[in-house]
């Protein structure tokens, strides 16, 4: 069902939007993800995901002010909506619950 399930990459994008607070626009998100996830993230993929998230109502966007960079084109900033926040929290809860059920011994890396 659309809107309830959150894919792994979608979750990462949502998290980076949250972490970038007011500076979350496509290129920044892309950079952020590349930095933390240590994998090369393509702009096109990020755009596609942002578009999908917006369709699902998890994020909303608005255009910023024009600046001298980017050939004078405005940036589109993304913010989490209530539903976005809720779904992030919910995902985290599911994970935490699962984490707690794991006996500590098993994950000890040697």
């Amino acid at each position: 069902m659309k809107g309830t399930h959150l894919g792994e990459f979608e979750e990462l994008v949502l998290l980076s939007i949250a972490s970038l607070v007011n500076e979350a626009y496509s290129v920044a998100i892309c950079d952020e993800l590349s930095k933390h996830a240590r994998r090369s993230v393509k702009l096109g993929v990020v755009h596609a995901v942002l578009n999908r998230l917006e369709e699902k109502g998890l994020v909303k966007s608005e255009l910023g002010e024009a600046t001298a960079t980017r050939g004078g084109k405005r940036k589109r900033f993304y913010f989490l909506t209530g539903a976005g926040k809720a779904s992030l929290v919910r995902t985290k809860e599911i994970r935490d619950q699962l984490w707690q059920k794991i006996p500590k011994l098993i994950l000890k890396l040697r």
């Binding site: 393509k42 050939g71 940036k75």
Partner: protein, 875 residues
Amino acid sequence: MKKKKIVNPPAWATRFLHWYCRPELFEDLQGDLNEFFERNLRTKAAFIARIIYIIDVIKFLRSYTIRKPSFNNPFIRKVMLGNYIKTSARVIMRSKLFSGINIVGLAISMSVGMLIIALVSDLYSYDSSLKNRERIFRITTIDEYAGQPNRELASTSWKAGELVKQKVPGIESMTILRREFRGDAKIGDLVIPVTGLYADENFFDVFSFPLLNGIAGTALKEPHSLVLTETTAKKLFGSQEVIGRVVKFDSTNYIVTGLMKDIPKLSHISFEMLVSLSSIDTKKPEWDGGYLDWTNIYSNYVYMLFSKNTDPKSVITALNKLDNDENASLKNRKILLSIQALKTIPVGKPKGNEIGNVMSSVAVITMAALAFVIIISACFNYTNLSIARSLRRSREVGIRKVIGAVRSQVIGQFIAESVIISLCALFFAFFIFLLLRVQFLSFHPEVEKLFSLELSPKLISYFILLAIVVGAIAGFLPALFYSKINAVQVLKDASSIKVFKHVSLRKALIIIQYTFSLIFITATVIGYDQYKGFLRFDLGFTTENVLNIRLQGNKDDVFVKELSALPAVKGISKSLMVSSIGSIYGGTVKYNDPLDSSNVELNTIDEHYLPLHNYKLLAGRNFTAKPRNSPETEVLVNEQMIRRFNIGHNNPEKAIGQIINIENKKLMIIGVLKDFHYGTLENKIDPVAFEYSPEPDGYINAKIETGNMSAVLTSIGAIWKKIDKVHPIDAKFYDDQIEEAYSQFSVILKIIGFFAFLAICISSLGMFGMVIYTMEKRLKEMSIRKVLGASEGMLMYLLSKSFLALLLIATLIALPLTWLFFDKVVLARFAYHRPIAFGEIFIGLLVVAAISFVMIGIQTLKIVRANPARVLKNE
């Protein structure tokens, strides 16, 4: 400081992005791309950054970024279409001159286009009544003689048919046909000449022509069986009850075993009746070899019905193998079989020995090209006049744009307008087409045989399609022009837009129109003069008032006696054939050197032939009368003959008395004729020899006194009736026969002449419209000039000089082109022709110029004479 060169991302990639991307996403996407581009510039070479940019643009091409087509709102489209039709109707009503000129021009040109469409559609519907039309193929033959050009024949050998039957797989059924069954059918006392086609018993398996009576599978099985068509049955028996009745040809009885419906007109074969192929006794040798010889490829036709899954290529491979086997025994010659689909027979390059009428595709394409030129010319008129009135229309477009019309909508409106005009024109064109059709079919007997040009729903839909396409072409340039108009500028000051920015385009269109008109009309004039030249050409003998009567196998003595009794008949001679009309009869001639032989043109004549036709003898004498059955000893030759063999050192006097060998007969030259034309003017004069016979069994040439020709012809006809009751008389005047020999040129001339007429009409209409619009625009200017003292002559010159300049340029292009075309292409084909007269070239120009002068003159006069006070008052 080092100045950094500014590197931009490739503009075309950005444009591409702009084109496909949804507007709401575009800014963001492009900004991102720019940012990455700048970033890449810092670390990488410029060209790599650009490549990455391009790749990214392409990668952004995803389902969610692509814009949806904006015109897919059916409601708005419907509303706007209604509006387009309404405004177009208003415009058409308001500017009657503009609409009139365009509708007339388009109607004339489209009627010709409709005719061509009807022709082509006829050609493609040939034999469409046959059930398995798609699967029927015929065998064609290529005859390769060493040292001679290859000949492509529609016919093939009987043997090929038999071999295919045995050796080629994938054939459901096949039939062998043979032409030339001719004879006088005798039914009781009645004698009626009929022609037919031999066919074997599988004929009706391949061709699904419906049989009205009789059994399709066996009707043609037994020897001496006949299948008649309805018309033939009526002709022979006067009824449909024909099965089992007997028809006698010579001394053999034939039994009618079948009655079939008449062959549809649009069929590539036609016959009066079918005769069973088994009637031919194949053991008897035929005049040109055995019936079943591999090389006897001139009279037989093989048609095959392929099985459903047969690949034509596999059949060709099998045929190639056959060729190889059979050609092994031939020397210097190869006979190659190939196949041709039934539906492609009526159009294409006509082959030798065609079984029926075939239209050359070159002729069809040429006519289509001419029609295209005429239609385009009419479209030019529309384009020119639409742009010329832009002053009136541009404000409307401006307002439309302000209200929110996008460019595609303006384009749509103008195309809709032109399509509506062209549909109006279609209505008139249809009536012109009906007239044209009658004219065209009665144009030449061949044409009537080939085409029916009947209307069908399919044809009508093609016509409508034609009108829509023509309308779209005509409206395309104006639509582009109007859609580019800048709304703000137009509404602020309409006169500020540069109407004459497109002057060079319009001038070019007018020049093209006039060039074509001039080429057509000049070609007609030159062609007509040359054609008349052919008819009046001095052939070296006179043909005036000579009536050639074909004897058709009858004895001539009674006929000649009765003819000479007629007071109007001045003289009578006999000849084997009629020369100078394209037919040639030849034989091998040798002189002293037995190894040096040459093919020479021959005719056999009696002693009256030369004086009757006024042949000129350079030396020697004419034949003298000799009794029947006396041995042939004498011959007359022309100058070319003694030159060819160097007889008597080219001296006619010395050639007399020399012996030459014609077809193994030793004949003495008794006279040398001045060169004359034995063939048509396309051929050079070749060596010719006249042999003597008191009754050559071909034609009677009767010189007839001028006067009451029809009475004389009637009495000759009555005499003919006495000696031959069966065959109608075949008598033609020599001059008419010559005209017939060149009739293809007269057909071509008539067609070109017709197109010339249309082209001039249409370009004159266009010029007329342009003149009126230009004059309107310059009315005030002229008035001011007049007030300031310009003379009427001055003003006329000022107004008309630009148009005359266009005409001059068109002349400079058209006339040399036409002259070159005739000199190098058309007349190069003829060994003898009149030179192109200098004056002829200018006759066409004179006509066109006169028409334009009158048009321009009347309009300019009107303006020049206008009262300046009244014109200027309105400012």
